[in-house]
């Protein structure tokens, strides 16, 4: 133990805290500390699509638009654009044109790609590099060409853009462009210079203006302009990383982003640590001066008009296990944290009235809780092609409605989510245009409005519907066989048993036997693809805050089995589909609301989704953190955050004083333990031979 103690002493040096995982040089500097649990797979804006990746890419890359940080409902505002482009219909509505004007004078982060000499590096020099930033750095002004280059990259045969299929349906000429590139791209080792190939639907107007031509009307296109898929990529970056030896060193555009954003990624070890450093060339975007009611009281407007970012460096550490992650947050070594499910009770107290608050331990540490309803829905889906529960017959509809009443989602949220969820009344997530709240928003099939709240209908009504469906007491009225249904789900291990038991109990209320087919994610996807599931549990996280992004999940043309679309229920309803086609291209208006109301009514009545819920995120932040506000649509939030480093240092010192008496006690115990051994040895040595 002594050597270990000495080692610990050496490691800690003269510091007042010994368990600080960060270098002593970090102390007193403006650094934000956070963690990532899942390793990012792609940081190329054309490929990156997950939240784990967006938390890095969205600090570096700047698409033309962004979401207002404080306002709700979500509102698009310019980022590098001068204004939010207005769609202009041409040729009688055959095409829509978006003209995007970029602010002049925006400069890229310092990067070696902008130094011409770095484009012809000897192999030995590349092999010696520890980081691309070891090379001489340069910059240049952002131009419209960079945005055009990125749009062309969506179609590159060497890249996998998840939105290529969707964009090829809308951006004029993108599909042809992809096919031309595919034929041209025969020399795999060489750089594929996309500037030499013309894309019909995207044109440069001047150095800071470009135009995108979209087929027909597609109002949701503006939302895509707020995603990194449409962020600028300088051709020099592709050219630089294409050099021999770069890929072998993991120096690729997929891992080393190059952008104009508030931060630049200077350290990239997805296995251990990523580091974002303030971009010295950042133009100094102003903190918003307007927000929601209540934002001013919460201090969210205190920095209004000030130049961002407020933090110089962001250190993001890989934490694979929730226990060390949570403890490091409590010790003050992470500035904010989600609440792991196994520590929920330690952090949050829910009163009998359902009021949520922090525990005394959290309050004493000055930790603050922020909650937000995710723009996500998790639902129990029905395969519309299934002979027992699917289809539009009155019999199956009543069966689904009966089940929808019987499944007590309120109880599910209470038991399994610690109350962190809202029961869905329709397919739309809260905060999305079209969703009605209160009495008007209640699903009349499953709930009724009583005493100012939505109450689940009594189980007797479900039993009556079940009998009308031809299954009195859960048995087929004709043959007398018990009704057995099958639920496909992705299991996570033995811990799922209580959840599965709960599901069986819900169906047992109607005397329906439920067989749960627990499988892994791949097999589950395979079943969905083949349409061999009966009931299943799945979810959807919104790409953008528009009802189209939820209702398309039930559009017949999107059937997973027929067209590999996102309609995993394979639901088809001619009226719903026709309304969807009308609604999807409309601006938010009373007329659109009316159509959505009708679509929601159809879905409630048909019940292709037998209820579901919207998760509620609980986030914790230390007292030294400022300007934090949850944003489900964007992850470019770091530039808004503020850290009080003096307060953090003081609280860290206070809560991490080394406790030395156990080590001393252990040494004493070891010495005490050695005494009998020594005495026994002495006794044996003095003993006469036997």
């Amino acid at each position: 133990m002594r050597p270990i103690l000495v080692l610990a002493l050496l490691a800690a040096g003269c510091a007042d805290v010994w368990n600080d995982p960060y270098p002593a040089a970090d102390r007193g500097t403006s650094v934000l500390y956070t963690a990532f649990l899942e390793r990012p797979k792609h940081l190329d804006p054309v490929q990156s699509y997950t939240e784990d990746e967006a938390r890095f890419t969205q600090q570096v890359y700047e698409p033309p638009l962004q979401y207002h940080y404080l306002k709700r409902p979500y509102e698009l505002v310019p980022l590098t654009a001068l204004e939010v482009p207005k769609p202009v219909e041409v040729e009688g509505g055959k095409f829509t044109v978006y003209t995007i004007r970029i602010q002049p004078g925006i400069r890229y982060q310092p990067h070696p790609a902008f130094v011409a000499e770095n484009h012809a590096l000897p192999r030995a020099r590349v092999d010696d590099l520890r980081s691309p930033y070891d090379l001489p750095l340069g910059t240049r002004e952002l131009t419209a060409d960079d945005y055009i280059y990125e749009i062309k990259r969506l179609a590159s045969p060497r890249l996998h853009s998840p939105i290529f299929g969707l964009m090829a349906e809308y951006i004029v000429g993108l599909q042809d462009f992809a096919e031309r590139l595919k034929k041209f791209d025969t020399r795999k080792g060489d750089w594929l210079d996309l500037r030499k190939h013309r894309l019909e639907g995207v044109e440069k107007v001047d150095e800071h203006t470009y135009r995108i031509r979209v087929k027909g009307r597609y109002p949701q296109f503006a939302y895509w302009l707020a995603m990194p898929f449409f962020a600028p990529v300088p051709w020099e970056a592709e050219r630089f990383f294409q050099q021999p030896g770069m890929a072998e060193r993991n120096f690729t555009l997929d891992w080393w982003p190059v952008g104009t954003g508030a931060y630049m990624l200077t350290e990239n070890d997805p296995n251990a640590r990523m580091q974002l450093v303030r971009n010295p060339n950042f133009r100094g975007e102003a903190y918003p001066s307007e927000g929601e009611p209540g934002d001013a009281q919460e201090g969210l407007l205190a920095d209004a008009g000030k130049a961002m970012p407020f933090v110089d460096r962001v250190v993001v550490t890989r934490e694979k296990e929730s226990i060390p992650y949570w403890n490091k947050f409590l010790q003050g070594y992470f500035d904010s944290s989600a609440i792991p499910s196994d520590t929920f009770d330690q952090a949050v107290r829910v009163s009998v009235d359902g009021d949520v608050g922090l525990t005394d331990e959290m309050q004493n540490k000055g930790i603050r809780l922020r909650t937000s309803v995710d723009t996500t829905i998790l639902y129990l889906g029905v395969n519309w092609l299934d002979g027992v529960v699917g289809g539009s017959s009155e019999r199956t509809r009543k069966l689904r409605q009966a089940i929808a009443i019987a499944i007590d989602w309120e109880e599910f949220i209470s038991i399994f989510l610690n109350g962190r969820g809202l029961v869905s009344q329709d397919p739309l997530a809260p905060g999305i245009f079209g969703q009605r709240l209160g009495k008007d928003g209640v699903n009349p099939v499953t709930h009724e409005w009583k005493d100012g709240a939505a109450r689940r209908r009594p189980i007797e009504e479900a039993r009556k519907l079940l009998a009308e469906a031809g299954y009195p007491d859960g048995r087929d009225a004709k043959g007398g066989q018990p009704l057995v249904l099958y639920l496909d789900t992705v299991g996570r291990g033995p811990g799922d048993k209580p959840r599965f038991d709960w599901w069986r109990r819900q169906f047992a209320k109607l005397s329906i036997q439920l067989e749960i087919r627990d499988t892994d994610w791949n097999r589950f996807q395979e079943k969905i693809r083949k349409g061999s599931q009966q009931l299943y549990i799945l979810g959807w996280n919104a790409d953008y805050p528009d009802p189209e992004n939820f209702l398309f999940l039930l559009h017949g043309a999107q059937s997973r089995m027929k067209s590999q679309g996102e309609n995993t229920s394979n639901y088809v309803n001619a009226e719903f589909d026709a309304l969807f086609e009308r609604m999807k291209n409309m601006p938010n208006s009373a007329a659109r609301q009316k159509i959505i109301d009708r679509m929601v009514d159809i879905v409630r009545r048909d019940a292709p989704w037998i209820g579901g819920f919207h998760p509620v995120s609980y986030g914790l932040a230390h007292a030294w953190m400022g300007n934090g506000k949850p944003n489900n649509m964007a992850r470019n939030n770091i530039k808004y955050l503020r850290v009080d480093i003096d307060k953090r240092a003081a609280l860290r010192r206070e809560s991490n004083r080394p406790v030395l008496w156990p080590a001393a006690l252990l040494v004493v115990c070891l010495i005490a333990g050695a005494v009998p051994a020594f005495l026994a040895y002495r006794r044996r040595e003095r003993m006469a031979a036997r």
Partner: protein, 325 residues
Amino acid sequence: MIAYIIRRTLYAIPILIGINLITFALFFLVNTPDDMARMQLGQKRVTPEAMQKWKAERGYDKPLLWNDAAQGAAKASNTIFFEKSVRLFAFDFGRAEDNRDIANEIRTRMWPSLALAIPVFLVGLALNITFALGMAFFRATYLDLWGVVLCVAMMSISSLFYIIGGQYLISKLWHLVPISGYAGGLDAAKFVVLPVLVGVVSGIGAGSRWYRTLFLEEMGKDYVRTARAKGLAEPVVMFRHVLQNALIPVLTGVVVVIPLLFMGSLIAESFFGIPGLGSYTIDAIQAQDFAVVRAMVFIGSVLYIVGLLLTDVSYTLVDPRVRLN
């Protein structure tokens, strides 16, 4: 001896082919190329065309083991198994499914694994031998009895308990070292103290008990009785005679493990946030990254074979009676 080493090296080739085949069969029994494509391309807006493109780029659009459509030798060679396996024997591991170079990852991650594994190995070995010698020295006394009880108790506890308990006590309650994390160079010391301590303590029970058995067996031999009869002090008997002779089985058991230290620890690296090869393997299994899984299994197999060979060679060094023919 050189002929023996060459012969053993040649024997290793069919063994490695067999291991590669088993790994391949087990992996593709659970995962199809479609599953892999879906996992890598994400869960949203994945089209069949994108999946086909992904598979074609990586050669997963071919038959697994036998290509009926091909002619002659290409029936066997124009398959996923052949194309993915043959390069391994040249130690060309290729790229992971996330496009990162596997050889570069291994070179980088090897050092954190060694920074943890070598101290655990050396300190653990020294401590286990010392503790076992002590128990053997005090054999048939209460010290020996309670030592064995302690060993049995310690080896009955899951290693996960040691990790969580160590993190809770030493880092959370006493604030002596960081609970997890890693840094390069000398800064690594403060991060590996706790995992090394946990690794050593969790291994004491099984290690000491095993070495105690070896020492006791040695102590019952005639030459030890002769040494005592000549009037040598017990410490001299223990350290000069018993320890030296018992080191032969100890050494042979230890040498085989040495090459495998490179592979790291699967659980400890995850819990302590050490970016080593154990953690790399776990990540690859979870991400269904066949390229990495295959490379790690191959390297593990090669290292194990090397370990066995070194063990054989070490026999000749510590016991002159042994000849490798």
